[in-house]
């Protein structure tokens, strides 16, 4: 009781100083909470993007690097004064033509039998194979003038979906907003599901026709995916994708997949299964959500970096400054109270009792600073939620096309890539552990400040303290 009365009255007496200390700590704590909440928001947003890439429930994906393309493989378009010359599989044609091929430019083929082997691994609850392909369509004009620019390819991302395992893969994330989904009888049919955004942009609906690899597919349904996901434009049955698709070496993809989606029994099994997969498919790339995060670029990645780096260091700087100011002001306050403490020692107070008093005052300031800091943190998080623009995450993949041309500046060449940019809404999140950390930091700040003051008190000699003129 006396302890609290003494603490309360002393802090009230030097309330300006106490407010400065508490506000300093509050600012530091508020920044820590805001930066951590922003980072958590970015992490969640990133998680949503990654989840959207491979679907809900997929913990691991297995892919393979594409083999080096032979010079004759792929489609090479040579533009010159005489017109266009298109070479595919060593065969060249000139004049106007339409190129439409379905390829796997990003991943190498994996035998379909591997999917069954993966299903048999310990800790794996499900696995399905798919083909992530890109359909490239280019229309080459018959005649070209000297100033004709290279034509831009139209790229459609296509997912060859294993209809018998709808719970895994990109389609698992979506809902059929119109028409119908795949049924088992569609396995060998030229039917397609189209992503809602792509359908809107290209005026497609259930019953429309879409051409892939020069084959006409009937759109049976429209698929809506979460906003932060990065869905393919079109889904077709896996068997049809295998029949029409080609590897980057122009080889058939019959009996092949290029992505295996794996679900594990629990998050704790991910590491073990990842290890098992590396043994089973030594040349494959085994990707978990954490390793995939490094491939994400765009403003989401920039924000993640900003939140992680700038936020963290700014918080640390402000906290260190707040701790230093709190310590200096506490030491100054103790210096002004030397005679008071000398008197208490003369009254029979032990040093540790006086130290406790000084520590108590400092900790109360820390706790008040922490409480205000938590409020500031919530305010900061709310502010970020309100003013933060929609972020985007971009994944870039090659199309497998090569352009060579002769322009006014000499020969030029390019290999176009296709980028998928996904809008992401960042929602800062404050968790209980973060709040606990904040309160801990505030108390630590108080303790550090109190320790400096206490160190001074413990060194006080009562006679010298009483002789101090104030």
């Amino acid at each position: 009781m006396f302890f609290l009365t003494y603490v309360r009255r002393e802090l009230w007496r030097r309330r300006r100083q106490a407010i400065v200390i508490a506000l300093g700590l509050a600012l530091g704590i508020g920044l820590v909470i805001t930066a951590t909440a922003a980072a958590a928001g970015v992490r969640n947003a990133q998680g949503n993007v990654l989840k959207g890439l491979y679907g809900v429930g997929t913990d691991i994906t297995v892919t393979k690097k594409p083999p080096a393309a032979s010079p004759a493989a792929g489609t090479r378009v040579q533009l010159g004064n005489g017109g266009a010359r298109v070479c595919s599989n060593g065969a060249c044609h000139t004049g106007a033509q339409k190129i439409d091929n379905l390829r796997s430019p990003a991943y190498g083929p994996i035998g379909e039998s591997s999917v069954a082997s993966v299903r048999g691994l310990h800790g794996v609850t499900g696995a399905s194979g798919g083909l992530a392909l890109t359909d490239n369509q280019i229309t080459i004009p018959g005649t070209l003038g000297p100033s004709t620019r290279m034509p831009s390819p139209k790229s459609i991302t296509v997912d060859g979906t294993d209809i018998s395992h709808p719970e895994l893969g990109p389609l698992s994330n979506g809902t059929i907003s119109s028409g119908r989904g795949f049924s088992s009888s569609d396995a060998n049919s030229d039917v397609a599901l189209v992503d809602a955004n792509y359908a809107a942009a290209n005026s497609l609906r259930a019953g429309s026709k879409i051409t892939l690899a020069k084959t006409s597919f009937t759109v049976t349904g429209i698929v809506s995916q979460p906003q932060s996901s990065n869905p393919p434009n079109v889904y077709i049955p896996l068997a049809r994708a295998q029949a029409l698709g080609k590897s980057n070496q122009d080889k058939s993809l019959q009996g092949q997949v290029n992505t295996i989606y794996v679900a594990t029994a629990s998050a704790a099994d991910v590491g073990t299964v990842q290890h098992e997969l590396s043994g089973l498919l030594p040349s494959a790339t085994v990707t978990t959500s954490s390793s995939l995060a490094s491939q994400v670029t765009g403003s989401l990645a920039n924000t993640a970096k900003l939140a992680n780096d700038l936020g963290r260091w700014l918080s640390v700087l402000v906290l260190v400054a707040a701790f230093a100011v709190a310590s200096l002001l506490t030491v100054a306050a103790v210096s002004r109270r030397v005679r008071e403490f000398g008197t208490l020692k003369a009254l029979g107070w032990r040093s540790r009792r006086i130290v406790l008093q000084v520590m108590g005052e400092a900790i109360v300031m820390g706790v008040v600073g922490g409480a205000v800091g938590v409020g500031l943190g919530y305010l900061g998080a709310a502010l970020i939620r309100k003013i933060s623009p929609t972020l985007d995450a971009t994944l870039t993949q090659p199309t497998g096309q090569h352009f060579e041309g002769m322009g006014p500046n000499g020969p030029s060449s390019s290999s176009p890539t296709v980028s998928h940019t996904v809008p992401v809404h960042m929602l800062p999140q404050i968790s209980l552990p973060v709040l606990a950390l904040a309160v801990g930091l505030a108390v630590a700040g108080g303790l550090i400040a109190g320790m400096f003051g206490s160190w001074q008190v413990s060194r006080l000699h009562p006679a010298a303290a009483l002789a101090r003129v104030e």
Binding site: M1, F2, T5, Y6, R9, E10, W12, R13, R339, E340, T343, L344, K345, A346, L347, G348, W349, R350, R353, H461, P462, A463, L466, A467
Partner: protein, 232 residues
């Protein structure tokens, strides 16, 4: 009560040594009122600090109730101060943020007594110095004389054996000075206290049973002492 034998205290000020006490020999009996007179800087306060266990002699011994202060650890000395010695200072040394009652209660904190018991002892101590109605006032709301009364209540609330007063009237006007000395004398008589009072004021010193004079660190007892204390 006190036996001081060949007590010397030398302070080091840079390369210079300053003797504050020189070969002080003194015996103070239980219940005695001793006044120590002398000019500023001649060792009066240093002597009082030796008696209060706030400082240790460079050489010689200070014995209190048979205990040699030099042989006690800091914690034991603190216990002696907490239980047996009351201090009064020239500048009152009240904690400015605490009320009169809280200041008095501060002297009971080291004794670990219960809150209820502390409160009644505090009220009784303030009543004994005539400030029962000012218990909730902070020092800034009290006059100098009232502040010194609070300091006296703080010194006596734990019922010490000894009261050490360092210029207790030094900051007070004559009228208030006399009131305080009257109060001290009354309390001394009623409680059978041992009082050592440092003063440069002869009027105050004359109220003591015995007067000692400090000059350049040396202590001498004035002729005529001891004598019974008398009220003015």
């Amino acid at each position: 009560m006190y036996t001081l034998t060949d007590v010397n205290k030398i302070y080091q000020k840079g390369r210079r040594t300053v003797p504050a006490l020189r070969d002080v020999n003194l015996a103070i009996a239980d219940g005695e009122w001793l006044a120590v007179q002398g000019r500023t800087g001649h060792g009066k306060t240093t002597l009082l600090q030796m008696l209060g266990g706030l400082d240790q002699p460079t050489s010689g011994t200070v014995e209190f109730d048979g205990q040699n202060f030099s042989r006690l650890r800091e914690g034991q000395l603190t216990d002696v101060r907490a239980n047996a010695i009351g201090f009064i200072f020239q500048t009152f040394n009240l904690v400015p943020t605490l009320s009169a009652a809280d200041n008095v209660e501060a002297a009971l904190i080291p004794l670990g007594s219960r809150l209820g018991g502390r409160r009644s002892r505090v009220a009784s101590a303030l009543d004994s110095v005539g400030l029962g109605d000012r218990a909730r006032h902070v020092p800034a709301e009290l006059s100098g004389g009232q502040q010194q009364r609070v300091a006296i209540a703080r010194a006596l609330v734990k019922e010490p054996k000894v009261l050490l007063a360092d210029e207790p009237t030094g900051n007070l006007d004559e009228g208030t000075r006399d009131e305080i000395i009257d109060l001290l004398e009354t309390l001394w008589r009623e409680r059978g206290l041992t009082v050592v009072l440092v003063t440069h004021d002869s009027t105050v010193a004359r109220r003591a049973q015995r007067v000692a004079v400090m000059s350049k660190g040396r202590l001498s007892i004035q002729p005529g002492s001891p004598r019974p204390a008398t009220t003015s």
